[in-house]
Symmetry: C2
Subunit: 464 residues, 2 copies
């Protein structure tokens, strides 16, 4: 294949993608003196990383000790395996948890990322082990990474789209075909070939926004389902690896957020109300029947599946007491009209076209469960602070799942090398971050994605 190829430039290492995984890999490869270039199809860096809240999970940290939290690698491993329904690849999962603390410390020691002086617990974690950067945004981490990239003199080629992997006759990766001056809307650009002496690190993210690709694996996820991802979270780089014999892992494991509203784009502001207030203290009803149909405190997968099974947006309701008790400020969601307020349950029923008597009967039935502490219908665990829903105003939002994360991706080994069907490495091909499959199994826990990006980004950058 090499003969006849016009090489436009030559580097040691080509990194595809400028999110957390790609920049981490570039920094590590650059630190060891390799000649690195990062390509990014969009006009600026950060991909989905920049719109995340920046939370990173790690066990056994100084911050945990300071707050008196007991944790261990094994506990984090067990939590992730439980959420993943046992489908997680043990070696990859072990690699993530055993390197999580050093990855977190690296962001402090090498990058000077400032973190809030707190440790949070997210759903599915057995203990508080999540650290949040100042500003509660991935942008804080990204800015520090870009500073380091700049110090190291690593160029980021923006508007440069990766198209295919170039191999020699033995199947070794020797370069990549790209489109420069990439026009994202027209999907056009100027072809160029980059020769790589050491190899390529794929860090292109997931395919949550790639309707065609994701709906092959889960036909429910057609264009009617929104995503919390940026619209450019597509599968072309993943496909380029499959095309040269890389193996895919668990591509049909696609995570839906159940806390999302169809009345706003992206992640939005509704999830704060849904995840922190209504799931715990309120109810979700089918507007066609006025009835509950699910344990509102089920995990993401259970809730999303139940709502999708209903087939149209369902209505989540909480009362004033719940909102006040929670302490969260949901005024932005209300201003945007994502969360609506009603002076009475009748008004609410009328607005959403729910049969008033049926809705009130459901609320009464649920209130009875709350008073008895047992949900006969859906076995929702009634939290200690719960009380009957009865105090106006009532708050409501429409709930319709959005694609949030793709657990599936490329098969890699513990050294971040991409594997073929027979678990052999593909010479010169590495991958890290959401483009990789197998770490999270059937369901990813919150704040474990950034850990994965940095752990495997570092490993890829060090090993290539």
């Amino acid at each position: 294949m090499e003969k006849g190829i016009q090489w436009n430039e030559q580097v040691d290492v080509l990194v595809v993608g400028s999110g957390f995984a790609g920049l981490t890999a570039a920094i590590e490869a650059g630190e060891s003196g390799k000649n690195v270039v990062v390509i990014e199809k969009m006009k600026s860096a950060g991909g989905n990383s920049i719109i995340s809240d920046g939370g990173i999970a790690a066990p056994d940290t100084k911050l945990q000790k300071k707050w008196g939290i007991e944790d261990s690698e094994q506990m984090m491993y067990d939590d992730m395996l439980k959420a993943g329904l046992g489908l997680n690849h043990p070696k990859l999962l072990h690699t993530v948890v055993s390197n999580a603390r050093s990855a977190f410390e690296w962001t402090i020691d090498a990058l000077n990322v400032p973190y809030l002086d707190r440790v949070d617990i997210f759903g599915g974690h057995g203990v508080a082990r999540c650290y949040t950067p100042e500003g509660v945004t991935g942008g804080t981490i990204l800015k520090k990474m870009l500073q380091k990239i700049n110090e190291l003199g690593i160029p980021i080629l923006y508007s440069t789209s990766f198209r295919s992997i170039i191999t020699d006759e033995q199947g070794h990766v020797i370069g990549g075909a790209v489109l420069k001056e990439y026009d994202y809307r027209a999907d056009t650009g100027i072809p160029a070939n980059i020769r790589t002496q050491r190899g390529i690190i794929l860090a292109s993210g997931g395919y949550g926004a790639d309707v065609d690709f994701r709906s092959i694996q889960d036909p429910r996820l057609d264009e009617k389902i929104q995503t919390t991802n940026k619209p450019f979270a597509t599968a072309e780089v993943l496909k380029s690896a499959l095309n040269i014999g890389a193996t895919s892992v668990q591509l049909s494991e696609i995570q839906l957020g159940a806390w999302s509203s169809p009345d706003e784009r992206g992640f939005g502001d509704g999830p704060l109300f849904a995840d922190y207030i209504l799931f715990q203290y309120g109810v979700i009803v089918d507007p066609h029947t006025g009835k509950r149909f699910v344990n509102e405190l089920g995990d993401r997968k259970q809730l999303a599946d139940a709502i999708l099974h209903i087939g149209y947006p369902c209505i989540g309701i909480a009362d004033d007491k719940a909102v006040k008790y929670s302490g969260w400020d949901i005024s932005k969601a209300i201003r945007k009209g994502v969360v609506k307020t009603f002076d009475s349950m009748d008004d609410l029923a009328t607005f959403y076209d729910i049969n008033t008597e049926a809705l009130q009967a459901s609320i009464n039935r649920y209130n009875g469960f709350v008073q008895r502490g047992i949900d006969d219908d859906f076995q929702k665990p009634i939290v200690d602070e719960a009380y009957p829903m009865e105090k106006a105003p009532f708050y409501a939002m429409r709930l319709w799942p959005k694609v949030h994360f793709t657990m599936g991706g490329l098969s890699i080994n513990e050294r971040a090398q991409v594997l073929d069907f027979n678990d052999n490495t593909i010479d010169g091909l590495y991958a890290a971050g959401e483009v990789v499959g197998g770490v999270h199994g059937a369901s990813r826990l919150g704040s474990c994605a950034i850990t994965e990006c940095i752990v495997f980004g570092r490993i890829a950058g060090q090993n290539i």
Copy 2:
């Protein structure tokens, strides 16, 4: 690619695999005058088909009418979609259910397959719609297919292993590379290339026995988990299609059979008792508690997940009346010691080390549900013929899941054409049967596999 290839023979259609899908495809292609050859890597025909019980599902049949059973395509569609957790590809599922009756009738009218004069209900089906050939074995159907293959003069090349798909420069399929005189244990043979004028139909079955391949997708399913499949149910043909750009669908959806016994190898003889007698008329209990823990007529996934969650083999129990009423001969399973008989429930409890009082309480409670027609605990549908379990001898078997079926496989369209990542057809490549993915979603219902094999086998053979 074509230049330099030594073609050893030329046909219109090459069919890979001699199970139900492959033979059906070959018959249909042969009936329309095409020059067909079937290759089979083993020394005899039938693959996993021959070890199945031969049950085939179809809605709206004469036999259902005769027995007063109301059914429809939509009801079968809904049942399969529910079991598949909505992951089924709607067009493929619709193709299967809308052609199921004609596929079943074709086996009678064109092949003269003799069926028992009965209609059975299997777990997850809403009504009885399963037809069983005489002898309760897929061998009965296979024999008739082989007769037809013989009549049509279609050769089956045994001990011939498919290795790779040969394409021309435009990516059109023009032939296949095989190994003749294939030595299955040594994985060696004499290379030969078969030129195909019209194309290749892949009907090579699933990868239930391919520990390496299946454990990439579900790492739990390592060599310690048995399979009901023949040991040659491996993935090399599936991989050959992925290697030329075919898309895989839902490879991580791998079904475990819940009716299997750890006390015998392979599919064995226990499943006849479990699936036809105890799930309908009996109970499954956790030997550590003596209690039921699942709707015994739940679908395979529900049952297998529930038993795996318990973590050790559970005990299925039915009474003499159920066995007699069912009409099934389970003497072989009894002779093998897989199903055991007991003169009293006390003896049974003692043998399996179950607390006698707890077990009898569970049986009494269940008998109460049967008398009222409602299972308060697990919502098992109580069939009309059910009656309290009380007549000795009691029959019991240990239940522990085995890998049974791989729902994932190649992406195809309604014409059985294999698709690439962009849903474009790969010219000259067709697939049918278990090598295909997407029909069953997350879980296949019993007796729907043979329906799929025959429906898509016919379509592939007619369209190629």
